[in-house]
């Protein structure tokens, strides 16, 4: 072992920043690939792919994964969001997400996205910052019917926190970059186009194998030393080749394959899933094929045994049919009811009410204890004025008092189901219910709050807010 390697290893061990937490989120809905192929008379793969609902997008999924990652003691300095399907450009999503997650204003919030490789870059960013970082990787993968993105893609998100005293150490990171044009999508275009996959895979596979070899050598390890491996690539062919050539590939969980390739979130969800099942003191190798190849060598610490992180288990999965999928992704525009177009939320009103608008923070009267959502200056129970404290309600469960199904109101996926929900410990709110079938809702059903897209106004403003969805055993 020469001096150079010793020095590098020491430097890595001295780095105190590593992974302190993780979580992921996969939407409840899935599309059968066979159903898509019959609809369009094409060949497509077997199995299913995960599908974000009409009221979800890369931002809402990232938030759900982050809610399952952050802990009470988290003290986030920087928040990074990566996706290849950003809901907005110019203005960042990350600053809104920081508000939704109830983080203080004194954080840096950055969108570092656009390409599949952005996810890996964001993980490196998290590693490089002093203090704690929250890295959120999220993606929607879709395109023209029959496209690679649609057939092999999937929707989902994963989050990681970085900080001192890590549960998982990052031992080394190694990258090879390549300008080959294996895929491209211009801004505003629907779906990514790809060059001949045989050529792309040939280019990419070589680089992926290279980084695997190099990082192991550099750290004086062999494949036999690895406890798990994560292989992520948009190219099914690349993944297959790597899997056959890297013996350690057998360590990869195949269960994760059921969702499809998750774009910028893919390596994140795979890694989080792997960590969930890992043991202390194991090496995990993450390999990404995108714009070249990246490798990250991780080692779980003893802290793993006591770590408890939430994630969205895929319990009961609901199949959606092809017309629903196409409508949800905006590939088909259905006739709307003769109702007014949804209004954009007033930016000044949203700013004034930012605690409520973003973080679902209500008020509690300090004179009589009455909880009010939205916050009220004049207490509805005792009339006290401006005698209240904030009351964070996003994690509080509720019970359905009454509900209705509105078959005329505007919705991205009618009919609208609205419930009057009474919160544990006090407070009532009336909101849309999501992930419900109208016929299944009943008085006394238990609900939890989720952050969703409410509507898109005619001038393109996306209005987000909190909805309630049924509490399921595996949430």
């Amino acid at each position: 072992m020469d001096l150079l390697h010793v020095k590098i290893r020491k430097a890595n061990q001295m780095s105190k920043i590593g992974i302190t937490g993780w979580g992921w989120y996969i939407p409840r809905y899935q599309l059968d690939r066979g159903a898509m192929s019959s609809a369009f008379r094409m060949n497509s793969g077997r199995g299913s792919r995960s599908v974000a609902a009409y009221d979800e997008d890369s931002m809402t999924m990232a938030i759900e994964s982050a809610r399952r990652t952050l802990r009470a003691e988290s003290n986030i300095n920087n928040l990074i969001f990566s996706t290849t399907h950003s809901p907005v450009l110019d203005k960042g999503n990350a600053s809104s997400m920081a508000a939704v997650l109830g983080l203080p204003f004194q954080v840096g919030a950055y969108d570092l996205g656009g390409s599949i490789r952005s996810g890996f870059g964001s993980l490196k960013f998290g590693l490089s910052q002093n203090g704690e970082s929250l890295v959120m990787l999220s993606d929607l993968r879709y395109g023209r019917p029959g496209s690679d993105d649609e057939i092999n893609g999937g929707d989902g998100a994963a989050s990681f926190t970085f900080g001192e005293n890590p549960v998982v150490e990052v031992v080394d990171v190694l990258s090879e970059s390549s300008p080959v044009m294996d895929r491209w999508r211009a801004e505003g275009e629907l779906g990514t186009q790809v060059w001949d996959d045989r050529w792309s895979a040939d280019q990419q596979t070589a680089l992926m194998l290279q980084v695997v070899k190099s990082i192991l050598e550099k750290n004086s390890l062999t494949e036999a030393d690895l406890g798990s491996i994560v292989i992520s690539s948009a190219s099914v062919r690349s993944v297959a080749t790597i899997s056959s050539q890297v013996k350690a590939s057998s360590l990869q969980s195949s269960e994760i394959d059921q969702f499809g390739f998750l774009g910028a979130a893919d390596l994140g969800v795979r890694l989080a899933w792997t960590l969930e099942n890992a043991k202390a003191g194991q090496y995990i190798l993450v390999v990404l094929g995108a714009d070249g190849a990246d490798a990250m060598l991780l080692k779980t610490t003893q802290r793993l045994s006591s770590a408890q992180f939430g994630r969205e288990l895929v319990g009961t999965v609901e199949q959606v049919d092809v017309p629903t999928y196409l409508t949800w992704r905006g590939l088909v525009s259905r006739e709307a009811p003769r109702r007014p177009d949804p209004e954009a939320p007033s930016a000044p009103a949203a700013a004034r009410n930012h605690d409520w608008k973003f973080a679902f923070i209500g008020s509690e009267c300090t004179a009589c204890g009455s909880r009010q959502l939205p916050p009220q200056r004049v207490c509805m129970s005792c009339g006290a004025i401006d005698k209240n404290r904030t009351c964070s309600m996003s994690a509080v469960k509720s019970t359905v008092k009454t509900f209705t199904v509105d078959r005329i109101a505007f919705s991205l996926s009618p009919p609208v189901v609205v419930g009057v929900i009474d919160f544990d410990g006090g407070g009532r709110f009336r909101c849309q219910l999501t992930e419900v079938t109208p016929d299944d809702v009943a008085v006394n059903d238990r609900m939890e709050m989720v952050y969703r897209l409410i509507s898109i106004s005619s001038n393109g403003v996306r209005n987000y807010f909190w909805k309630a969805r049924p509490v399921r055993e595996n949430s």
Binding site: R338, K401, V420
Partner: protein, 386 residues
């Protein structure tokens, strides 16, 4: 005390050929003729409209009224009554001697399904609901609290709708003049919760007007004035959607306004003393709940009284004898005045096929808003000042 000494009311319906201006002119003409006055005789005006005009110009422009005091009022669907209420207090105070209250709505020029209430910019956090959905919350709440099954509830709601359609069939001014069977009503496709299209009042155009003076001056205008024995308005604090104490089986605002009106008129047992009532049947469950809130039925028993025919046209307490919002129609600004117009015809013996024998006290109830956040108006009228 004040009295209504002249009234007019257009037919309500899909008036493709008439503008709001046209409807106003027609209603005002009929009221003037009825009281034998001209515009110059009228000292002040209140024009009620929710969405069909702003400022007093709504009335002065089509009628070419010059430099008179004209106030445009709005209190959601209780707008028509709001116009009457303000006009009544104006003559009661002595500020004016003869006043006119007018209500109009032109809803059919818009291309919308259902009612659209314009709103100011918000932060986008309020759930967007149509009117039928807002009132549909009453149904499961009432069923659960009073042990009414789904089948029974459907029969109750259909009975109310069928009654109002039968009444409207006898009314040449009604939007819908065709009786509809309970069976047809029950089978219609749902549009919001348990409610189908027959559970919802019509979207209509129309106008109505009333000429009002102090009771001691009434004889100058008519031998058969209608005396206003009570006026009340209760505006809730709008907290039903955020207060777990609200159970969606009642309108506390209605109870408050009814009690205030009964006290003013000296009514101690409304269930037996009220001869006839026009109530705000925007949706069938609303009428059901109102029977209890207005004291016509015991709490929890309204549904049984409905099924027993108590509120039918030949029942002990006819409710909505003119067809109600349901089949007469609901041009928002005019409805409160339309209710008084039926009372007016009934007291004068001019209700023809709908005539109720010798009515003594009539009640009009007008509601704006939705369960949990509403305004409620009640008036009590009679053909005698005692």
């Amino acid at each position: 005390m004040v009295a209504i000494v002249g009234m007019g009311c257009t037919k309500f319906g899909d008036h493709w050929g008439k503008s709001a201006d046209d409807l106003l002119i027609d209603a005002v003409e009929e009221a003037k003729t009825s009281a034998g006055v001209v515009i110059d005789d009228v000292d002040a005006f209140w024009i009620g409209t929710a969405v069909s005009g702003r400022s007093g110009l709504t009335l002065s422009a089509p009628l070419k009224i010059r430099n008179k005091p004209i106030t445009r009022v709005e209190n959601m669907c209780a707008t028509g009554s709001e116009a009457v209420r303000n006009a009544c207090y104006a003559v009661a105070s002595g500020a004016y001697d003869v006043v006119m209250a007018v209500g109009v709505e032109k809803l059919k020029d818009s291309n919308m399904t259902g009612l659209v209430i314009p709103s100011s910019p918000t932060d986008g956090t309020t759930a967007d609901l149509t009117a039928p959905a807002m009132f549909s919350f009453l149904v499961p709440a009432y069923m659960a609290k009073f042990g009414v099954s789904q089948e029974q509830m459907r029969e109750v709601l259909s009975h109310i709708a069928s009654k109002n359609h039968s009444n409207g069939a006898k009314n040449p001014r009604a939007h819908f003049q065709r009786a509809v069977s309970i069976e047809t009503i029950s089978k219609a496709q749902k549009i919001a919760g348990a409610l189908n299209v027959f559970d919802c009042s019509g979207i209509s155009d129309g106008a109505a007007a009333a000429i009002i003076c102090r009771a001691e001056d009434a004889h100058k205008y008519t031998k058969t004035p209608m005396y206003v024995r009570a006026l009340s308005l209760a505006v809730g604090s709008g907290t039903g959607a955020i207060d777990p104490e609200y159970d969606y089986t009642t309108f506390p605002e209605v109870v408050a306004s009814a009690n205030a009106a009964y006290a003013q008129a000296g009514i101690t047992d409304p269930a037996s003393q009220i001869s006839m009532a026009e109530v705000h049947d925007c949706f069938t469950p609303t009428e059901l709940v109102l029977m209890e809130d207005l004291g016509f039925s015991e709490r929890g028993n309204g549904w049984k009284d409905v099924l027993a025919g108590r509120f039918d046209s030949d029942g002990a307490l006819p409710v909505n004898p003119d067809g109600g919002l349901k089949s007469f129609g609901h041009p928002i600004g005019a409805s409160g005045l339309r209710m008084l117009f039926e009372m007016w015809l009934q007291f004068r013996g001019e209700a023809a096929a709908r005539q109720i024998p010798k009515p003594k006290f009539g009640l009009t109830h007008n509601l704006g808003g939705q369960p949990g956040e509403c305004v409620s108006f009640v008036s009590i009228v009679s053909n005698s000042p005692e």
